[in-house]
Subunit: 346 residues, 2 copies
DNA sequence: CTGAAAGCGCTTACAG
DNA sequence: CTGAAAGCGCTTACAG
């Protein structure tokens, strides 16, 4: 079965036209019952499989969604989004062409170029590196969706309510009696993407507003924004933990921008022989590493899969339907998962 | 730029034949210098981009590799492999169509069907669920590579030397003075894939042979093979840890089949107030979660990216070259990473 | 050095 | 209910 069977082959063997074979393959239009049966047999026997490449050329639609992903590694957040995109796409008959951009503008550019050459029906940026690339995607005329950290380019959007997530986390700590709550986050969104900091600002503002709401004084020394979202910088951030712990009085709780950084901080605490939550409460963000840490980490869950599904859903709606506003925005909620890393303030 | 520009458009605008335009696009064959310059200008101005779908149909090659992956989540091992495949594929001008099979034979079957309809140049199974699907891929005449846990179907193979990895881990513990070393692994490879247990057997044999080599008696109570590689069963396995700890004398070291299970066990130890490595040494397998745990976990690293790269390399060699044996096998080594979870036996 | 033309495998408007 | 035929956008053997 090296040279594959074609529609035309089937037609010849069955002694009908390709038009008729096509009808039974797509199961639409009328075909005489016994003609149909006979054609079905030939298809069965020859192991015929439609050639989607040919169909794509003819229909000018590839049923493929391109997904430019920040990176599958190390943060499984993006893997979750990728999986969500895939599930929803598959359900609607689409496949997904995945490109790991690894935070590299050049790779993103090249990935996009390839996707466009392959005539994907839509491209999803799960955290674009470079607004210029998003703009280029839009100019090509394809459907585009930006996820999580959008550039200022106007496209379809899937966002997360980071502000509410931060509020919920900080309120949880306040409920437990904490007053000295440190915020360890980020103010830049990766080297390649310095401008688009809405996510980080929202989280910081959630923290600040909640403290104000409860009349808790804001102490700048408890706010560490020195970290990037890369692993290396996460390590730099954990170095700062030592400084935080020397403060008098030190914080009794930490609200940390992502689970990976929380994990690094927990390593420092472990080394020092401090117990969680007895000596320090910690809340993370993402729910990636959280369930696996010791102790299991209380964290603000991001609905990774749902984010991916929403992105694919929006993309496919734009591709297939006319009766829809040209640019949609979906905003999804986070969810505080309380586990064992948070306890009453001592 | 909604209706995209074609080669023919370029030819008409430039007043030459498509043949000539094709020559400058592919940068092969002779074209008069000024004709070339002029054509390049038209391409630039119109924003022309080759249509790979059309090319694929014509050349009968799609420059696409299909990757059927056990699952991006939760174990980042597979994400690492996926990334490796992608990097190597991209380097050679291929894209990859990824399908998360999620250990579901039906999904695997459907993913394969789609890949074949899309006429991918090769399909990679990173841990196939069902031998029947591998067989079907082979029958279609495409190139196939099986990675890590192959079914018995004869295909190209990328394997890991699990035996040597286990030996190295156990020797490390013996060097540290441990004699009561427990092995916590798996004897089944997931519900959907009960037969293909070479990986698990190799690790177990590495453990057993090493103990024998050092004249350490084998104690069946120290061997727990009750776990599957799913998260749920990982939890079941950690339950068994309590039993292990009640033994007299209890083990002083644990060799655990994968980092995720080690993480679960570390949670149990943390809860009990036991210190690692003072009260218990632990070695994991994979190097996925290992760097993020408290304390950082000594583990047998699997070269995830390299595994993926090897798979793509083998696939592409088979596609592009004639002077190559039809079925290749690549075997890759593990690497023991010593971190802070292992220390001298007390 | 360059052109006219066939064909990859589909889908589909148009006839009959 | 079914057929003959055009065309999607490329690539490439064959002429010239």
């Amino acid at each position: 079965v090296n040279k594959s069977v074609t529609l035309k082959d089937i037609a010849e063997i069955a002694g009908v036209s390709t038009r008729t074979v096509a009808r039974v393959v797509h199961n639409n239009g009328y075909v005489a019952a016994d003609t149909r049966k006979q054609i079905e047999q030939v298809i069965e026997k020859t192991g015929y499989r439609v050639n989607i490449v040919a169909r794509g050329l003819r229909k000018q639609q590839t049923f493929t969604i391109g997904h430019l992903l920040r990176g599958l590694i190390p943060n499984p957040f993006f893997a979750g989004v990728a999986l969500g995109v895939e599930q929803q796409a598959n359900k609607a008959g689409y496949s997904v062409l995945l490109f790991n951009v690894q935070q590299d503008t050049q790779r993103e550019r090249q990935g996009l170029e390839t996707l466009l050459e392959r005539r994907v029906d839509a491209v999803i940026f799960t955290t674009a590196c470079d607004a210029e690339n998003v703009r280029m995607a839009m100019q090509s005329g394809t459907t585009v969706v930006q996820v999580e950290r959008p550039t200022p380019v106007k496209t379809n959007l899937v966002l997360i309510d980071n502000y509410a997530g931060a509020v919920e986390a900080v309120e949880h700590l306040i409920d437990l009696g904490h007053r000295r709550i440190a915020f360890i986050g980020s103010k830049v969104n990766g080297v390649a993407n310095p401008g688009y900091t809405a996510v980080d600002n929202d989280r910081l503002n959630g923290y600040l507003d909640t403290l104000r709401e409860y009349d808790i004084p804001i102490d700048d020394r408890l706010i560490d924004l020195s970290s990037d979202y890369s692993v290396e910088d996460s390590e730099a951030a954990t170095a700062n933990i030592h400084r935080l712990l020397e403060l008098s009085p030190p914080p009794t709780a930490l609200f940390v921008g992502w689970d990976y950084m929380a994990a690094g901080i927990m390593q420092v605490l472990y080394e020092r022989g401090l117990r969680i939550p007895d000596d320090m409460s910690i809340v993370g963000f993402d729910n990636t590493l959280a369930p696996y840490l010791s102790p299991p980490l209380t964290t603000v869950e991001q609905p990774m899969m749902e984010i991916g599904r929403a992105a694919a859903r929006v993309a496919i709606e734009q591709i297939e339907r006319e009766d829809i506003p040209p640019l949609q925005t979906v905003k999804l909620s986070t969810n505080l998962l309380i586990r064992e890393s948070t306890g009453p303030a001592q």
